[in-house]
Subunit: 340 residues, 2 copies
């Protein structure tokens, strides 16, 4: 079975019209008469013509596609953000290429390379937890291509970020627990190589200070915040003298920790109150339902994509070092309601 790809030249021969005219007709150029356009289009359909985007992209040096790299597409936050990105891209006539880094630095580097060599017009990325070097982004910027970081900010100079204020909200959720009467609060922190988790942890600390509560290193657990980490951290909690609250940097680990604690006779929120982060669907359904932070996911995707398209259209005259901060929302549920 041979590749019987039909090209504009086949249409050109069949109709005895020059291929340049065929090209123009298929691109709906105003410089072709309606009559020939009709002829060409119907012949194209008849022959089963399919444009070769590779050739046209090579020729025009415009791919009309953007790349999206996220840690994992299975996370609710990311799949919602992608939905926002796709909607915006669709309206702008762009294709979206989705990839996941699986929070792996090497993989992220390889993906950036693939993006580059496929000449996408721009990249939206939420960087991996393990990324501490930024050379692969610099290389990219050198080519004059716009790159925009969302959710997880990048310390790189001259970069555009769309994020939430993780310090502020980290402080806010901690204060919420303090208001509920918690005094001995454990913090599930993510890798401190990531700015995002650093900020949440700083917010946690700031809230304690503000309310004259002691900050104790042994009450801060750093992990990758996966399901298994939650169980480990629950065990550590049971080994601590006194704990009445937990501020977790994500829902996944909070829920597996709560599950383990419940199995060990701990009542939530009476004995230990919990707050999470991300508003994963499971957090509304778990019992007790988990107090959490809803980040503007879909909206963040839309805004990030719009900014990227602006930069693409400006062709480098707009490479502003800007940071857009969106407002998250604290959703109070049963896991943190100590006072009725």
């Amino acid at each position: 079975m041979k590749n019987n790809n039909v090209t504009i030249h086949d249409i050109s021969k069949a109709l005895e019209i020059d291929s340049s005219t065929v090209s123009r007709a298929l691109n709906n150029s105003p410089r072709v008469s309606q009559k020939t356009k009709d002829k060409i289009i119907s012949k194209a359909n008849e022959l089963g013509y399919q444009r070769n985007s590779l050739a046209s992209k090579l020729r025009t040096n415009k791919t009309h596609s953007i790349g999206v790299i996220v840690p994992r597409i299975s996370r609710h936050f990311f799949s919602s953000a992608i939905a926002g990105i796709e909607e915006t891209a669709y309206d702008a006539g762009y294709d979206v290429i989705i990839c996941q880094s699986l929070d792996d630095y090497e993989r992220e580097k390889k993906l950036m390379n693939t993006m580059l060599s496929n000449r996408v017009d721009g990249v939206l990325i939420s960087i991996s937890m393990k990324t501490t070097e930024h050379d692969h982004f610099k290389e990219y910027q050198k080519q004059g291509l716009p790159i925009l970081f969302f959710d997880r900010p990048c310390a790189l100079a001259n970069s555009t970020n769309v994020i939430i204020d993780d310090f502020k909200i980290g402080k806010e959720v901690t204060e919420h627990l303090i208001e509920q009467g918690c005094k001995d609060i454990v913090h599930f922190s993510g890798p401190q190589t990531s700015q995002l988790y650093q900020q949440r942890t700083k917010g946690f600390k700031a809230a304690l200070e503000k309310h004259q509560l002691p900050f104790r290193e042994e009450y801060v657990f750093e992990s990758s915040l996966m399901k298994e980490d939650g169980i480990e951290m629950a065990k550590k909690i049971l080994a601590l003298p006194k704990v009445d609250g937990v501020v977790s940097s994500n829902d996944t680990s909070a829920i597996s920790a709560m599950q383990h604690l419940k199995e060990n006779g701990i009542r939530i929120p009476q004995d230990i109150a919990f707050v999470g982060f991300s508003n994963e669907p499971v957090s509304a359904v778990f019992e007790p339902s988990l107090t959490t932070v809803k980040q503007p996911d879909f909206e963040m995707g839309k805004i990030a994509a719009s900014l990227l398209f602006e930069q693409i259209k400006s062709e480098g005259n707009l490479r502003i070092n800007q940071t857009k901060i969106l407002e998250p929302e604290l959703i109070i549920r049963n896991s943190s309601r100590k006072k009725s």
Copy 2:
């Protein structure tokens, strides 16, 4: 900021070595001496050379990339299947382009078109619930490109499918409820335009027949099985004279229905027992935990991808009309345990 893309010609000029040799060196051809290879590679790094994949794909007519189209990447089953696909593709040196049809026929058509015009070497697809016409797949096959359907089979002649036996498992879950003593069982069915849901429904029917229970049309609700549909169906259940069990074709609608019923004082499983489909993470966490069917998601992705690569490598000499059937697993949890 200009596009200062470095090409093999730039390296060629700088080194006064012909571009064809440069190309060979960069592809690690054995027909270039190690000495010149080293020179070329170090110059390439120095200049920040990035291969233009578009040009190379155009020239070789091989893209080393495959397309994946799924209804929604946020569904646990699909993101796991994609993980399996990516792992296999990575080993085979292929790029994966992920897209979601959002269960929309027009969008699916457009995506197939994009795949075609970007000349992917093959496509893995789980078709949209609303897809009843298959012309866009035929067109694709005409080009001699392999396409493989997974999870949701396609009735198209000469197509390869990787699926589970939905009839058999549909029958099995129903019999599980019957064994628990259920007699008046409601069925949440998906769109009957989809073979997959047809089969599950047939399995449901077969189980009733086998156990001499009546099949009643008014006990079968057809919907898109979204969250909202679950609530609607719960209301319908409350309006029926007698219901003691529900076989749902997915977890999402089962859970929202259970939630609504619980709010109305129905006890699960004592009053109504439930079984779902898909093993979404939330099903293990909901109370009562939901009995469900775990499809081999990751494994299905791996197998589907391997089969696709076989077809790609065979270059059309292997277009066998084959169907691979994988074994699902019934996970019994609390929502269906009537007998202690």
